[in-house]
């Protein structure tokens, strides 16, 4: 069993037009699977559904957030896919951020203003995570209080438990999950670093195929079995960044 693949392009070779892709990270530089996103932007695939917390805020937003910190040259996010016209639908908790004032419009705004036809679905962050976890866990649907009393009630089943309203939410099924981890072995076991664990560990196993980019590939047995965050069963391919 050897899940290590030589490069990001090989890891993404079977991504197809119209694929639903879960993208790890929170939105900031740390947890973003930049290598995989850059490789994806170089493939001739289109009409992708890109799913993530804030997967396409763009480099300018990162620089604004980073203030005096230097954004690494290797950084890339899903805005590359938007620029290329590869995105047919964006499912995100934060497609753009009102609190940052940028010189240029946010990438999703720009893509829409340029006339691209892109659907956007807003999902509260916790519900997004829970819908991914449900997909991994074989749970087709669940109820949550989040979003009750808001526009999200429209078109959703509202149901009471113990006198309280809840919304029915469904598992978010996807074809590929692209994530960033710190270290991985040939079985696909992964560990992360700090707050970069974020949506990456949530996405692992939630899509039909999970592809992880890692800072370091280690020998089998090198990771502490008590500290492995993502067991290899949830990971199909591992590629060194």
């Amino acid at each position: 069993m050897d899940k290590i693949v030589p490069g990001a392009r090989e890891a993404l070779a079977d991504v197809f037009d119209g694929a639903v892709i879960l993208c790890g990270g929170f939105g900031c530089v740390g947890g973003m699977p930049s290598t995989l996103l850059r490789a994806l932007s170089e493939l001739p695939v289109k009409n992708l559904t890109l799913v993530g917390n804030a997967p396409a805020l763009g480099l300018e937003a990162q620089k604004t957030a980073a203030r005096t910190m230097q954004v690494p040259d290797s950084y890339a996010d899903g805005s590359l896919l938007l620029k290329n016209g590869q995105v047919g639908k964006l499912i995100a908790s934060v497609p753009a951020m009102a609190i940052f004032r940028l010189e240029e419009p946010f990438p999703i705004v720009k893509a829409l203003q340029e006339g691209q036809n892109i659907e956007v679905e807003l999902v509260p962050q916790g519900t997004l995570a829970a819908r991914m976890k449900a997909a991994r866990a074989g749970i087709p649907a669940f109820y949550t209080r989040t979003g009750t009393g808001t526009y999200l009630e429209k078109g959703r089943e509202v149901r009471q438990f113990d006198g309280q309203d809840y919304l029915l939410e469904h598992a978010l099924k996807a074809d590929f999950g692209i994530i960033r981890a710190h270290k991985g072995d040939r079985h696909g076991n992964l560990v992360y670093r700090g707050t970069s664990r974020t949506f990456n560990a949530t996405i692992a196993g939630a899509a039909a195929v999970t592809i992880a980019e890692v800072d370091e590939v280690v020998e089998l047995g090198a990771l502490d079995p008590e500290a492995i965050v993502t067991p290899g069963i949830y990971v199909n391919r591992v590629v060194k960044r």
Binding site: F26, G27, C28, V29, G30, G31, N53, A54, A65, T68, M69, P72, A92, S93, V94, P95, A96, M97, A98, I99, P105, F106, I108, V109, L112, Q113, E119, V120, E121, L122, V123, P124, Q125, G126, T127, A129, A130, M132, K133, T144, R145, T146, G147, T148, G149, T150, Y151, K154, Y192, R193, G194, T195, S196, R197, T198, F199, N200, A201, T202, V229
Partner: protein
């Protein structure tokens, strides 16, 4: 409208918010002004900060030298490590939030209503765009982003809002009814602004504290609902 000189700056708002942190509390600080509050925990109190991107028990806002891309808060600000800290993924982070394990959530806001309704994810209302999110985003005007606010507003045991009292053009943000898209209903219990501290009670909004140099009338002038003046009204204590 009160003159800007009598308004507290963001750091001072954060200092006032931090006075609400009791010893042993689990606190989540939302993006914007709230995340600044972690730096102002009172001496002798141990407060555990949760950040929705997967950390519990971080320290302060990090200096440029301390900054690490793998250690940041909900505002994308780098934070420092503190002993007892742990990391987890988003699914677990929101178990804590949705599951009622967070004692206090401090959130920014675009509007707060008299009843404690919170609007903090969009400036505007979907109705203005015929319910079409894409049409709204296309305008580029205050593009909406929910983030973790809806989960925090319904899941935390207590919700405090920390915000600038008025919009950029001076309109009230403390309103009778929210006209912007709602985050959650009847969830806010305290409003801390650059002008005042206001408690949301069943009887109405109670003005508890005013910024130095401001009078209750100054606050009322930029607040839509009628304020009840607290018997023990005082100047904001830091």
């Amino acid at each position: 409208m009160s003159a800007p000189k009598n308004r507290m700056d963001e750091q001072t708002i954060a200092m006032r918010v931090a006075r609400e942190f009791e010893d042993g509390m689990y606190v989540n600080l939302g993006g914007g002004i709230p995340t600044l509050a972690c730096n102002f925990v009172a001496e002798g109190r141990e407060v555990i900060f949760q950040t929705e991107n997967g950390g519990l028990g971080y320290g302060n806002i990090a200096s440029t030298e301390e900054a690490d891309w793998d250690m940041f808060n909900a505002s994308f600000q780098p934070v420092t490590y503190a002993p007892g800290m742990s990391f987890f993924d988003h699914d677990n982070a929101f178990d804590m939030i949705r599951g009622g394990h967070i004692d206090l959530s401090v959130l920014g806001a675009m509007q707060v209503s008299e009843q404690g309704d919170l609007a903090n994810w969009a400036i505007g209302n979907l109705v203005d765009y015929d319910g079409d999110v894409v049409a709204w985003i296309k305008t580029g005007r205050f593009p909406p982003g929910i983030g973790g606010a809806m989960d925090l507003a319904v899941g935390a045991k207590k919700v405090i809002v920390a915000m600038i009292h008025t919009t950029r053009d001076g309109s009230p943000k403390v309103v009778k009814e929210c006209t912007y898209e709602i985050t959650a209903c009847r969830c806010v219990s305290l409003i801390v602004t650059d002008m005042a501290v206001i408690e949301v009670t069943p009887a109405g909004l109670v003005l508890k504290e005013v910024a130095p140099g401001l009078t209750p009338d100054d606050i009322q002038a930029v607040t839509e609902p009628e304020l009840i003046i607290a018997d023990d009204l005082k100047e904001v204590e830091l």
